[in-house]
């Protein structure tokens, strides 16, 4: 269990004091995949770097299994760090070491015997599916392959926690999906707690159990991914869920309704049925839905008619169908 207790972090820069974390209280449970989402500069990376004390808090404490790690000695801290794996957006592999050498590094640091370490490297290469690249150097690998090596390296010392700092932000969508699948797998099979930092709602939707929305050093809301996606409470969450560039909300004066699909049948023509039943036309301003196993997940923004009776009809229809909706603006 990781617990932030009233953690604040302030930086003194030339342009004045910057608050990267503002009295953060947060608890991450064992075995969960916890997401921290926010726009650039929200303080996500800084916050996560408190978990392995790459950043020291200006105020407050961080507890790992009820030990305040801000109070332990340097030597103990290094041992804690060996139990917390970390992967990065830019992979950060040692460029002069090959794949095996990179995965070997944390084992050398931990003082594992060479023969044992070699066996462990083989296991890890198998977990991340990189057995055939054991002798390759990072410069010969693609981004996705580099991240797989980085994951193997992060898992080498059997950590309890894996921190992922924008781990998929430099990867294409298909590679991103495969890396996220791998992380999910690791979470399930090895029971590693995973903390994911991202600016993409898609990443959170795909693998996280719970998510914290961050802006300007503040945690704006915390909840299960479903809760936050269905009913975003904070302005930041809304902006992350409904990206402005993907919809036309700003082009209409009318009220907008956000319909959330949460596993309804993808084969039901919901919008067509709605127009027939309510005898009114609706304008779709934006949508992103995904069909996962015949079920629809995602959201749609529709422009409401000016007539309040018709609006009520639409809402009644959605209620009858059991489809969640909320004000889209």
């Amino acid at each position: 269990m990781i617990r932030f207790d009233n953690v604040s972090k302030k930086f003194n820069t030339k342009s004045g004091e910057v608050v990267a974390a503002n009295h953060v209280n947060l608890q991450i449970e064992d075995g969960e995949i916890f997401g921290i989402i926010g726009f650039s500069g929200a303080g996500k990376s800084t916050l996560v770097r408190h978990i392995n004390l790459l950043e020291y808090p200006t105020e407050g404490s961080i507890y790992i299994d009820d030990v305040d790690i801000t109070k332990v000695s340097n030597k103990e801290l290094r041992r804690y760090r060996q139990k917390i794996g970390m992967i990065f957006q830019q992979f950060n592999l040692l460029e002069q070491r090959n794949v095996t050498g990179n995965i070997m590094y944390p084992l050398e640091i931990a003082g594992v015997k060479k023969t044992e370490a070699k066996k462990r490297v083989e296991e890890l290469l198998h977990i991340v599916g990189m057995e055939d690249k054991a002798a390759a150097y990072p410069s010969q690998l693609s981004g996705g392959q580099k991240q797989r090596v980085a994951i193997a390296r992060a898992l080498a010392t059997n950590p309890d926690v894996l921190l992922c700092d924008e781990a998929t932000s430099a990867l294409d969508p298909i590679t991103t999906r495969s890396i996220l699948e791998l992380l999910k797998d690791i979470n399930k099979k090895l029971n590693v707690t995973i903390v994911v930092i991202t600016h993409e709602m898609k990443v959170v939707e795909q693998i996280c159990d719970r998510v914290a929305v961050m802006s300007a050093g503040n945690i704006e809301e915390i909840g299960t991914v479903r809760e936050v996606f269905m009913n975003p409470k904070s302005e930041t969450a809304r902006k992350l869920i409904i990206p402005e560039e993907t919809n036309l909300v700003s082009h209409t004066d009318r009220d907008v309704l956000r319909i959330v699909f949460d596993g309804q049948s993808a084969f039901e023509p919901i919008v067509s049925s709605l127009t027939i039943e309510c005898q009114t036309m609706v304008n779709i301003l934006g949508a992103n839905t995904e069909n996962i196993g015949g079920k629809a997940y995602g959201q749609m923004l529709i422009e409401l008619p000016g007539d309040p009776d018709k609006v009520q009809k639409i809402k009644d229809y959605l209620d009858r169908q059991g489809i969640h909706y909320e004000r889209g603006r």
């Binding site: 760090r81 060996q82 040692l94 150097y137 990072p138």
Partner: protein
């Protein structure tokens, strides 16, 4: 050309190589730790220490500012203390080292600065101690760049060693000075200069070939 010149030149080559190689090696033995200290004690370093950084940085700057010929003469008593004499090839090694160490320390520092901070952060996150970061990350990752620096240092020290001829040091520089400059044997001077060019050229080429072989960033 004066008689016995062939043997003299051969001897000169040997002395020049001796001075340059020994000085380069010893200078690196001192210069690498010094460069590492300056790098890691910097404001953004892994072992930030303003006092140590300031003191080492200042000493390096002072020694680097002194012209070699002046340094050569100024530290003669020290040279005599260390090697027992202030004339000849071995005596020249002492000022060569004193002049080369700060220069090499700065080159080492700049090689280390080329390493991506993310790699160092990752090493820290894995629980590495400062010493482990230095020996397992900084030096190996900077190795190709350090080797390029090595070839530059070698050529520079070779150039300095030629100057030692003016104050009774040995080597090709001394031959060029004594025969070419003082006795107007232009041919001897030209030959020695050509030999110096050749030595630099060979070391530069071999050095860079070696760097390309060692550097794993190049496919």
């Amino acid at each position: 050309m004066p008689q016995g010149m062939g043997e003299l030149l051969l001897n000169g080559i040997f002395e020049t190589m001796y001075m340059t190689i020994v000085s380069t090696v010893i200078s690196y033995i001192i210069g690498i730790p010094l460069g590492v200290i300056v790098y890691i004690t910097d404001t953004n370093g892994i072992c930030k220490n303003r006092v140590v950084n300031f003191i080492t940085g200042t000493i390096i700057n002072i020694v680097r500012s002194i012209p070699f010929l002046i340094l050569l003469v100024a530290i003669m008593p020290f040279t005599r203390l260390v090697v027992g004499t202030s004339i000849g090839s071995t005596a020249t090694i002492v000022p060569l080292i004193v002049a080369a160490v700060p220069f090499i320390a700065r080159m080492v520092e700049s090689s280390l600065k080329e390493i991506d901070g993310g790699i160092i952060e990752a090493a820290k996150a894995m629980g590495s101690s400062t010493l482990q970061i230095v020996t397992k990350v900084l030096i190996p990752e900077a190795k190709p760049s350090l080797m390029v620096g090595g070839t530059i240092a070698f050529a520079t020290i070779l150039g300095y060693s030629a100057m030692a001829g003016f104050v009774g040091g040995g080597g090709l520089g001394a031959i060029a000075t004594n025969y070419g400059y003082y006795r107007y044997h232009t041919d001897v001077m030209l030959i020695t200069v050509a030999l110096l060019v050749l030595i630099v050229q060979i070391f530069q080429e071999v050095g860079l070939k070696l760097v390309n072989k060692v550097d794993k960033r190049i496919k």
